[in-house]
């Protein structure tokens, strides 16, 4: 699926390097040194945004580490192997349609700083 250049530019602001790559019929966005919300430890980590359905979720955000955040999350993916790296993900369902890539990323990141 092609995304408008403007959406990619917006997403680029959140990381030092943005790269799209296909794997297993899915296009992932690799975000190097993604900035995490305040109160998260670490403050940056690498991430993979999967903007299409996977594992029963409409979209997923994989992180290179298990992030410590103000509210505990259910980290139900540990060491998922994608692009020859291990990734972690917490259970979070973003079900609002028609979000831009950056809005989708924000919706996932917001899970780290909201209670429920």
């Amino acid at each position: 699926m092609d995304y408008p250049q403007q959406q990619l530019e917006e997403l680029k602001r959140y990381c030092t390097k943005l790269m799209a790559f296909p794997e297993g019929g899915v296009t992932y966005f690799y975000l190097e040194e993604l900035r995490l919300p305040a109160a998260c430890v670490p403050t940056v980590c690498d991430a993979l945004l999967c903007p299409v359905p996977r594992d029963g979720y409409p979209s997923r955000l994989f992180l290179s580490v298990r992030v410590s955040s103000p509210y505990p999350r259910n980290w139900n993916v540990t060491n998922a192997r994608i692009a020859e790296r291990n990734w972690f993900a917490f259970s979070w369902k973003v079900d609002l349609p028609n979000l831009t890539l950056a809005q989708l990323l924000i919706a996932h990141l917001n899970a780290l700083v909201k209670e429920k």
């Binding site: 995490l36 979070w92 973003v94 609002l96 950056a102 919706a107 917001n110 700083v113």
Partner: protein, 192 residues
């Protein structure tokens, strides 16, 4: 310190006639190259027309190339903005006057020796591009969202600070100093 900051030269002192002075071809008036308004104020002299005015703002000395800058332009000379700071004219006889951000200042005003700045108590923040007044200090996410008629139940508050907009933790106070840029985004998502 502003890149344009300078120490006043000997020529900038009141009474001196620095090189670079010229006659105004329209008014037949002598236009000085550079003058220090503070020095003229201390002597009680009228500030002449000049191509450049040396002005003290707080502890800094800056150059201004118009006799009628706005308060905002003067604040910018010391890397400050009216959303957080106010500019105050200082006169020789201990008289002070607050300059509104859009107000034009007359640098040739008799007795004007310079300016000081002060942090505002009611500052301006920007939410979704619009300015909103708010008291300086620690505020909750809910208090900020209220400014745009929204609440944390329905909206995420994002702050744009040295980078892209990132969601703010709902339970953590947000420090407001003035000029902060926020965005709101409809809440979506939940644990599954």
């Amino acid at each position: 310190m502003s890149l344009e900051n300078i120490e006043p030269s000997q020529d900038a002192q009141a009474g001196a006639v620095p090189p670079g002075n010229e006659w105004n071809p329209n008014g037949g008036e002598l236009v000085q190259g550079e003058i220090d308004i503070g020095a003229y104020a201390e002597r009680g002299h009228e500030v002449p027309h000049a191509r450049c005015y040396v002005v003290r703002i707080d502890c800094e000395t800056v150059r201004v190339t118009t006799a009628h800058p706005t308060g905002e332009a003067l604040l910018a000379k010391v890397d400050k903005r009216p959303c957080a700071f106010e500019l105050i004219e200082e006169f020789v006889h201990c008289e002070n006057n607050v300059v509104e951000s859009g107000e034009t200042v007359d640098l040739r005003k008799r007795g004007l020796k310079g300016f000081i700045t002060a942090h505002k108590e009611i500052v301006t923040i920007f939410i979704n591009g619009d300015p909103h007044p708010i008291e300086r200090g620690e505020r909750t996410v809910a208090q900020i969202l209220t400014k745009v008629g929204e609440s944390p139940e329905g909206y995420i508050l994002l702050e744009e600070k040295d980078g892209p907009p990132l969601p703010l933790p709902v339970g953590t106070p947000v420090k407001i100093c003035g000029c902060e840029t926020f965005h709101s985004l409809v809440q979506t998502g939940g644990s599954s």
